[in-house]
Amino acid sequence: MILDVRQLAWRMILLGGACVIVQIAAISQVTIFGAHVDLTPIVVAFAGLLCGSLAGAVFGFGVGLFLDLALVQPVGMTALLFLALGYAAGRLRELRDPQSAVVPVAVAAAATAGAEIGFSVMSFLLGRDAPVGFDLLGEIVVTILLNAAVAIPVHGVVRRWLSRALPEDPRRRRRRAYTTGGLSPLSRP
């Protein structure tokens, strides 16, 4: 199967739109230990991890821009941040291609930390004069933990949704061939 760019684009647009709407309309209103899950950075990071740096960066820019417009925030701020997140996750795949089962958890935690700290730094740089206390730090830490906790199911959904437009991973195909039995080149007559 080859990369279907058009199908991938449509799937990414739907994924990004649904992610932002569900986040604003529902998930942001559910507070757990004083914070809430933030799906947007982890979905962007997972898209980068699955599709590569270029697609991840474009997806991150699009989701960030949609968030900025929908939340009436300075336009371009989240777009810039998520662009970097999507690109970084894509480069991780291209350079290391980690296969461990805990990769989604680690990527989600790192992406959330990057998004929260990056947003804080950019807010200061853009002149948002807000007092900072331990509450903010606590909320950031709790958000990172919550995002890490939901990482595996979210990664599963994103992978399932995007994988139909992606070429099949040769290593996965090879693994499946061995485990299903009789398809190894060595076992062929």
Partner: protein, 273 residues
């Protein structure tokens, strides 16, 4: 990356009636029916998660409530304090009625979204300029003041909460009338501060804080908030009796779980007491 930087530069360079702000209002207009539908559809999920959160929080509250119960029991025995509290509550209730919220033409609205970032304490409501909502109007719940309308589209609006660093509310204590300005203590928290008090102002834990309304006789300095709307209760005072005393206030309204709010669309008598 260049696009993001150009957008940021243009956004900060233009006025609130500029192109990008207009696009934001347009997106709000298009998005609000979708958001409202999603909000209604996902309400059971929110309620379930809220129930789980409440259970954890309730465990933590038990000790506080026990302490509060013991304190209230002591006050009930002595009698006078309870009577005073009762009078205070009645006064607050009477004040609430005297504020004349009906005269302020309140418009009820549903909360259809909330900002996910800790740096922006904002909610989105399903009523906009079509229902008479304008930028600058105060927003309340049954518990008290929650914020101010900061952006209004045709069918939706953005309410910036009192826990946002952009919001400052002229306030006073309900009993002694000590004036000050309510602002958030730190980004991402529900802790408010009553600023600009002096060493002569005696402030104690448990005092109720309400909006001050317009204090000036000039029509150019009208407050956006009607007088007497409850804001919160003093939880602690750091460095009491000094000019730098920090008066911490906890809002009456649960700002993390809002469903129905009221926007006060009319200013009565210039919001003067």
């Amino acid at each position: 990356m260049a696009s993001a930087l150009v957008l940021l530069t243009v956004y900060f360079g233009e006025s609130s009636s500029g192109g990008l702000h207009g696009v934001q209002r347009g997106v709000m207009t298009v998005l609000s029916p979708i958001q409202e539908g999603a909000s209604r559809a996902l309400k059971p999920v929110r309620d379930l998660a809220g129930w789980v959160g409440d259970t954890f929080r309730a465990k933590g509250d038990v000790q506080d409530l026990r302490r509060e119960n013991a304190a209230l029991r002591r006050q009930a025995i002595s009698g006078t304090d309870a009577v005073r509290q009762n009078q205070e509550l009645r006064k607050l209730l009477a004040l609430d009625q005297a504020v004349g919220l009906a005269a302020a033409a309140p418009v009820a609205a549903r909360v259809i979204g909330q900002s996910p970032t800790v740096w922006y304490s904002r909610i989105f409501i399903d009523k906009g300029t079509g229902a008479g909502i304008r930028v600058g109007q105060p927003v309340v719940t049954g518990d008290g003041l929650i914020g101010q309308v900061t952006t209004a589209a045709a069918n939706s609006a953005v309410v910036t909460l009192v826990t946002d660093p952009e919001i400052a509310v002229p306030a006073r204590t309900s009993t002694t009338g000590v004036p000050g300005v309510i602002q958030v203590a730190a980004a991402g928290s529900d802790d408010l501060l009553l600023d600009y008090t002096t060493r002569r102002d005696r402030l104690e834990r448990g005092m109720n804080i309400v909006t001050a309304g317009t204090m000036s006789t000039s029509d150019r300095l009208l407050s956006a908030y009607p007088p007497g709307i409850p804001i919160g209760r003093v939880t602690r005072v750091e460095d009491p009796g000094t000019d730098s005393q920090k008066v911490h206030v906890r809002p009456f309204a649960d700002l993390r779980r809002l469903e129905i709010v009221q926007v006060l669309t009319q200013r009565v008598n210039g919001n003067r007491p």
